[in-house]
Symmetry: C2
């Protein structure tokens, strides 16, 4: 089935906003086994909108249009959809009442121009938007079924998932259920994981499981898209594949599905009634910032201590003046131990970075010395990362968090990663 | 002049990566007075690429194609460009030598498949890429001039600015020089600034100055696009407009042009040989993180102290146990004073946040009590921000930094902003 996406709106066309709705929709379709073949971006302009609708209607089987359903004069999607389909706009009493209720529940009066949002092409099938005033709808233009969706991301997301994707699956004949299983890892590059996982799809011989990746440095997402007659069937099929992936990626898997690295760390600390103090240098608060604002973190993050100056770090944790020479694991251990002791946390993470000198460049790197201490024990690692200032910063943040996760899960804090130089 | 952009690549089409190149290009063109009329996204597929090139070539005057110039088998731009233009691919000796040098300088051997990057359509005008191996080029397809650019953002950005935009301006007949003047502000919403600036464009009666905005909460960028015979002419014309904008937006302007809030703060502290300690609660290190990793910050950021627990904050700065009851300006002042004293910094910023209880929702808010202290003086403010947890967090970070900027510039730390509730 040929699917296209048309994104409308001057703000998107002129680049005032980055079009993240497009990638969101495209990924969601990929996740259920559908593919987008063509994307179009046009502004709030009658002539180009009509042209875009007609062209996609001649080429595709299904088209998702995003944006242009608002109450203002530059929102043109209903009008041009009606024109392209050769039908009049008609007033939709049911939606008008829904909008009145929407405003009443918020103790507001509906402005007159919202009436426009209840005008739909005569042949349109209404598509519900339970959280906004922009009414979605579907209709045929040319040989394609068009689905009109709101530009507000949270309204789009809900409508896409609950209304549009089921209709697309039905139309595509992919009546089977689809399930997406995800693994999140840190430390192995996409091509490395790809080669480590060679053949795992074949553990389900009927070809109904597909492997894919999404890299967002420093983390990598490994995705399994599985198809079957129902969810139980799929889950049974996936068991051996999941087991094999967990075996092959081992300790590098930091979370699965909707879990996050932050959530796993906070969960592990909460479980042991633990607290943590975080000491940072070059990362300047970015490790603490990944955890501290999350709900529940107020009882877990004991203290964050930040300085680019090791003497300040030492003073903060009650150690004598900073040592000279190259940063070592032992130094990170001493800082972590002292931070744990002086702040009274059950755990302390110290991430000290020795940056290269000179201007930023692709060979620019830094040595990351990190340690995790409790009252009884301490573990540490030293790793060099290169690739420019930003790369070192992002790598140090992620390595610090991931080593804390490893420590809390009883896994080795040191395992060689693809991003470090030896 | 009708301009289109075609973005190519499976990673963009499937949403594996968000297409920020599109918005970047579109904004850069807007900044010089050019507009994009149509955007197309297609994958690494011969048939759709050819179709996209032909369609744009029949419709537009100029087309920028992004991506597909790499060395791998799925990089098809040169091949399909040649096909669409009806010319053969020819080997480009000059570029091949450049690539060999590129690898030699990095002490690497050029892989055989990079030869492909030196194959260009016979009629192509080569466009230099001084920082990569993907050779840009221009040629005619249909009635349009096509400009082929690399997908790697930093290579694209440089080529667009130095090579493509000058050619587009020449082609468009906009021979006049264009200059972009920008003001960055925090605290006033876009529509408020728009109404405050009513009529400023008319200070240049010939209509050659255009006002525009780009909002990226919490900051707002106010842009003046000015046209003239040369840069001196434009700058002279802009003087009264700039003065008027500075007068009307006053202390809310935090930086101009390429300056940033972070840069202004570090610059002001460096100038007075100052250092700063930052104390944070809910923002959990995010204020320190905006400054601490920047070049030069190592001598300026004295210490960052983070905790969600006020007793920990008090202990860190040598104050007795935390007070009960509502957070006050006086409390923030006491913390800032103590932090300045105990860490020996010339300045201390304390940003304490009293979050609402309960689950996240649109009415969720927080009271921000912030203070800035030196050895001699202290200033403070208390502001309530609502709009959900994330909104409060972003607002507290920006308000903390902006008030520090105000203090360092001798401006009042408190002026009512549009985002606070009273």
């Amino acid at each position: 089935m040929q699917i296209e996406i048309i994104c409308t709106g001057d703000e998107v066309l002129t680049g005032k906003i980055v079009n993240s709705n497009f990638s969101y929709m495209s990924q969601k379709l990929e996740d259920v086994g559908l593919s987008v073949r063509w994307g179009t971006t046009v502004g709030d302009d009658r002539e180009t909108l009509l042209h875009a609708f007609q062209q996609a209607g001649a080429r595709a089987d299904a088209v998702i249009v995003n944006g242009g359903l608002g109450p203002t004069i530059d929102d043109l999607s209903q009008e041009i959809a009606a024109q392209a389909a050769g039908v009049p706009l008609v007033f939709h009493e049911e939606w008008f009442t829904r909008m009145e209720d929407f405003f009443r529940r918020r103790s507001r009066t509906m402005p007159a121009n919202n009436r426009k949002q209840a005008m739909l092409p005569a042949t349109a099938e209404m598509i519900d938007n339970p959280i906004g005033t922009a009414c979605g709808f579907a209709l045929d233009i040319g040989r394609a079924r068009f689905f009109f969706t709101p530009g507000v991301p949270r309204e789009l997301r809900r409508m896409l998932e609950e209304q549009v994707i089921p209709r697309l699956l039905l139309k595509s004949g992919l009546q089977s259920t689809i399930h997406l299983k995800r693994f999140h890892s840190y430390g192995l590059g996409e091509s490395h994981v790809d080669s480590l996982l060679t053949g795992v799809e074949d553990l389900v011989p009927d070809g109904s499981v597909k492997l894919g990746f999404r890299a967002h440095y420093p983390q990598l997402e490994t995705k399994l898209t599985a198809r079957g007659s129902d969810l139980d069937d799929i889950k049974a099929k996936l068991v051996p594949v999941e087991q094999e992936i967990r075996k092959r990626l081992g300790n590098f898997i930091l979370a699965e599905d909707d879990q996050t690295l932050e959530g796993v760390i906070l969960g592990a600390l909460a479980k042991c009634a633990g607290t943590v103090t975080i000491v940072e240098t070059f990362t300047s608060g970015q490790i603490a910032a990944r955890l501290g604002h999350l709900p529940g973190a107020e009882a877990i993050i004991q203290r964050g201590i930040v300085s680019r100056d090791l003497r300040q770090i030492h003073e903060s944790v009650g150690l004598p003046g900073a040592p000279e020479g190259e940063l070592t694991r032992e130094h990170a251990e001493a800082v972590a131990r002292a931070a744990q002791r002086t702040t009274g946390a059950t755990h302390a993470l110290a991430v000290l970075v020795d940056l290269d000198d000179g201007p930023d460049r692709i060979e620019f790197g830094g040595a990351i010395c990190l340690a995790i201490a409790t009252a009884e024990t301490v573990e540490s690692r030293r790793s060099r990362i290169v690739g420019g200032r930003e790369w070192v910063r992002l790598g140090a943040v992620e390595m610090g968090l991931d080593c804390l996760r490893r420590f809390l899960q009883g896994l080795p804090v040191y395992e060689r990663i693809d991003f470090e130089k030896v």
